[in-house]
Symmetry: C2
Subunit: 340 residues, 2 copies
Amino acid sequence: MDKVDDLGRVTLADVAREADVSVSTVSKVLNGRTDVSPATRERVEELLRRHGYQRGPRSGGDAPLIEIVFHELDSLWAMELLRGVEAVANGYGAGVVVTHSGSRHAPGPEWIDAVVRRRPLGVVLVFSSLPPDLKRQLRSRAIPFVVIDPAGDPEPDVPSVGSANWAGGLAATRHLVDQGHRRIGIITGPDDMLCSLARLDGYRSALTMAGIEPDPGLVAFGDFHAEGGYASARDLLALPDRPTAIFAGSDLQALGVLEAARVAGLRVPEDLSVVGYDDLDIAKWTSPALTTVRQPLREMAEQATRLILRLREDEPPTPTRLELSTTLVVRASTAAPPPR
Amino acid sequence: MDKVDDLGRVTLADVAREADVSVSTVSKVLNGRTDVSPATRERVEELLRRHGYQRGPRSGGDAPLIEIVFHELDSLWAMELLRGVEAVANGYGAGVVVTHSGSRHAPGPEWIDAVVRRRPLGVVLVFSSLPPDLKRQLRSRAIPFVVIDPAGDPEPDVPSVGSANWAGGLAATRHLVDQGHRRIGIITGPDDMLCSLARLDGYRSALTMAGIEPDPGLVAFGDFHAEGGYASARDLLALPDRPTAIFAGSDLQALGVLEAARVAGLRVPEDLSVVGYDDLDIAKWTSPALTTVRQPLREMAEQATRLILRLREDEPPTPTRLELSTTLVVRASTAAPPPR
């Protein structure tokens, strides 16, 4: 029923012969049909990949698509990335397909089947690692993919775009040290994400360079959401020798810190300084406006999308890791500590 | 090059004969090609529409798409709608194409060309009105569309989903009256959007029903963003007889009101009560947490998407206007006014 347009040098008949299956089976694999045994599917994919089988985008390039897939579609963070992909795709005349799938680590299996059927120009994945199966399926169909990996844990064989987490943690903490703070708490992200650890290391280095011994009692791990920021800040602010400043690992966590301060009767920045991370639009409109580390999310997504388009055009292999810089944005939530 | 699969009763040849053009010209119109004169395009579209020409979705239904198009992709508001569309489309096995195009009133012309080429199952439009041209182009290709219209200004011939703006304005204001407020300011949305006017009327009715004469000096029009909320609140709080409560027309505007209160040295809710509108995720994490009117954005988007799928299946015509209810969510930003 579904005809396959073969634009590559190797024909489907060649692949079918070599795999010892019918042409229709090869076509089924290409079209993401599920009525093919896993072993056959794998053999055909491997042959397609080895021969560099090239297939034109759907509808002969008339209605190209670029895909972005998230495991979370519920934060401003995701919106920033989407805007970046949309801006570049739009300029290229491509539609953007958005999918919400899987866990923090990889998209769900139903997604890959749909992508194979849609045959997009390429895929932007917002995941920290990819199962080998998924990589093989995309590669065997010549669908380029790039990982946006703010988690900072790139795989060497996958092109990825991230940002400078260690430098961001360093800059945030230095700013607080420069204001005169000595008791500085940190609420970083989950302890199984490299970006959390990189920011924490940046914080520790800034303290050590300033001659301040890092206090493990001032270190907390959050979930990058407001809830986690609130719970951790409540604990930090209840310490007998409470911190005079908190570096929250994300702007959303900083919202939780601001609320914990209000509940504890502490004014920001007079009694407590707060630094966020990300510089979402909302950071300008917290009360007071948030000092934060700008992570160029939109630019990261733009770069990832451009990289996909370059990969399609078979330009000479670009660096597989692009790291954009982070910058400190000083607003009203930081000041000198209160006199003791 | 591009073959058209004709599933309808009328054939392309019939339409071509009647329009006195070649079959290839009809095919060009169907495929959104631009090398057809506007007059011819219009004549062919009119004939296709009149004959109820039906065309199967792209790729024989193998990789169906649903489109959502926004004029703004920069707020939490858009994210909520996207999540609703994604949830329903996902359950249906369809991909979601997101486009950012046009002005508040209609998507740009480049969008419609792309949609015609992509041939989606249907289109969710987040716009307050649609140009007749666009409606004609979608209808002639049997692409169903539904407007999500929180602006409350539906066109009678377009299926739309909205929410109860007047009742929302009434509930917000009643809550403040019940707390004992008499000087209540309102910052509603732009004065050319019906939703702004409906909320304002709900506010006025709640005051009148409580025996309070509405004071035009306490009414401001914003832009639904934090900036506008801040500027209007600053003016209201500088009045000699300043309001003890402000009903902000959106949660984003409420962020601006909270900041204006902080800058003016007023505590929320002790010195000033604030009510938002929308109940975005962020409303739980303002300081203090925001009392607001919940607008069921995600559900509105889900309903719009389901309506599209029903329209495709030619179910008996459903009501063309679906209005979901709004509910007051009381949190920590409202209290009795300070003693005078």
